[in-house]
């Protein structure tokens, strides 16, 4: 049996508590001028909002927020602070006034508008009753996979996800244009092990990391291929895979990691992922469907050759949807490639750029 307890709306209570926590954290971020505290608090913000997302039944989003907010964003922010070394200047009272008025104004408009919003949780609201419900009803027949979010993400609104993948690819290009691929770190001496005290023996960490990295990679593939059935999918898996690489770099040094996963390789894989995704779409066109119409991914005569043992024998009520299954799998693979490679590229860009000597004449901001 599952441990469900009737008669108590734990949902609402949790929802409220977590939201209050979020507000407190944001207030603390606004109050601190220490960048590092702000980053740590951002990590907490992500954690809490991910729990909240689970409470809101948004399991896939929670998954993403977990890997992105708590993982990648924090590390990228740390890298940026390392390279900018700025404690934020204290905000003077004059500069606080106008932003506060603006923020309050926007908030007032928003709250004014929410008065007309349907009640929270109303199943009959337009948002929940119209297209959202239609997806729930149609997915079983159209795609035959349990995770409706994955179905909508990669098939019904697959074009959005193509755009999302491209955005990520664009970020890889942007960071690479700005910061390079860590070439500077490769040539630089600061990458040598830093001088440390007698306690700088990280045996425990190295052993733990050695154990964990393969497990993380394995887990990424589980998330990837389990995405049809449970929360997860290409994006989450890609970030997890990248986290494995990042962990390697953190523990064993960027140089070793770059020797194993070459920056050029990462860039190529990022482009290949988008190509794979777009290529699947074009294949559908070639085989007589619309763009990304996975029903036409395979020509009929090839589909007839696919043996039954993969998904069980055909059932007239629920046809196989080979095209949908394979199409979703393939594009999720493309997303995995692009996302993993992009995250690694971004990490290389930030971690691999050592601090330059300050320019003569330029004012230096205070050390962190």
């Amino acid at each position: 049996m599952t441990g469900y307890i009737p008669g108590f709306d734990a949902n609402l209570a949790l929802d409220a508590i977590l939201l209050v926590m979020l507000v407190v954290i944001v207030a603390a971020i606004a109050a601190t001028h220490r960048m590092l505290s702000a980053v740590i608090l951002m990590g907490l913000y992500s954690l809490v909002s991910a729990v909240w997302l689970v409470v809101m039944d948004a399991a896939d989003v929670a998954f993403t927020e977990a890997v992105v907010g708590a993982g990648v964003s924090t590390i990228v922010l740390l890298g940026a602070i390392l390279l900018t070394r700025g404690a934020a200047a204290k905000v003077s009272g004059r500069r606080r006034f106008l932003p506060a008025v603006l923020a309050l104004g926007v908030g007032a408009i928003l709250i004014y508008a929410t008065l007309d919003l349907p009640d929270f949780g109303d199943p009959a609201s337009p948002a929940n009753a119209y297209v959202g419900r239609a997806y729930l009803e149609a997915t079983g027949n159209d795609m035959g996979i349990p995770n409706v979010v994955t179905a909508v993400l990669s098939s019904y609104r697959g074009f959005d996800t193509l755009g999302e993948t491209v955005v990520i690819f664009a970020a890889a290009i942007g960071v690479a244009i700005m910061l390079g691929f860590g070439e500077r770190a490769m040539a630089d001496r600061t990458i040598e092990p830093l001088a440390g005290g007698p306690a700088d023996h990280h045996v425990v960490l190295r052993v733990a990391a050695k154990l964990l990295i393969p497990i993380i990679a394995l887990y990424a593939f589980y998330v990837q291929f389990h995405g049809d059935l449970g929360p997860g999918g290409g994006f989450q898996a890609g970030v997890i895979l990248a986290v494995a690489v990042i962990l390697h770099a953190l523990v064993f040094g960027l140089k070793d990691t770059m020797a194993a996963v070459k920056p050029k390789f990462a860039r190529g894989v990022a482009a290949l992922g988008v190509l794979l995704y777009a290529g699947i779409g074009v294949t559908c066109i070639v085989n007589g469907g619309g763009f990304l119409d996975y029903d036409h991914l395979f020509p009929r005569h090839i589909e007839a050759q696919i043996p039954d043992w993969i998904l069980g024998p055909a059932d007239p009520a629920h046809p196989h949807h080979w095209g949908q299954h394979f199409g979703i799998m393939a594009i999720e693979l493309g997303v995995l490639f692009t996302v993993a490679a992009t995250m690694v590229t971004i990490f290389y860009g930030f971690a691999g750029r050592s601090m330059e000597a300050p320019q003569p004449g330029a004012p230096r901001s205070g050390a962190a």
Partner: protein, 99 residues
């Protein structure tokens, strides 16, 4: 009911951790709070799965346990070494690093 009590206990503990993370005083305290907060989040997620009748969502708890570790290492390296790129050695640099 007990599970809800456990969730409530965890929530209180998490709030205390937020207080520690805001108060500091040193950055190591903040990392500690963040890390401990992460562990508690993992547990809370596991319990929520049971309370809401969908224990299959343990996947999220699982990924948290992993990510939390990596973030803590990154934070620690940041404060201790001011670099994300340098390797963590088992030797002192004189004996030759692994880099």
């Amino acid at each position: 009911m007990l599970l809800i009590g456990a969730a409530a206990g965890l929530l209180v503990a998490m709030s205390l951790m937020i207080a520690r993370a805001i108060m500091g005083p040193s950055h190591y305290d903040r990392i500690l709070a963040a890390n401990s907060f992460g562990t508690k989040t993992v547990l809370l997620l596991a319990i929520i799965g049971f309370v809401f009748g969908r224990p299959a969502f343990l996947d999220i708890a699982l990924v948290y346990a992993l990510i939390n570790f990596v973030t803590t290492i990154a934070l620690m390296k940041f404060f201790r070494y001011r670099s994300l790129a340098a390797p963590l050695t088992t030797h002192t640099p004189k004996e030759g690093g692994n880099g």
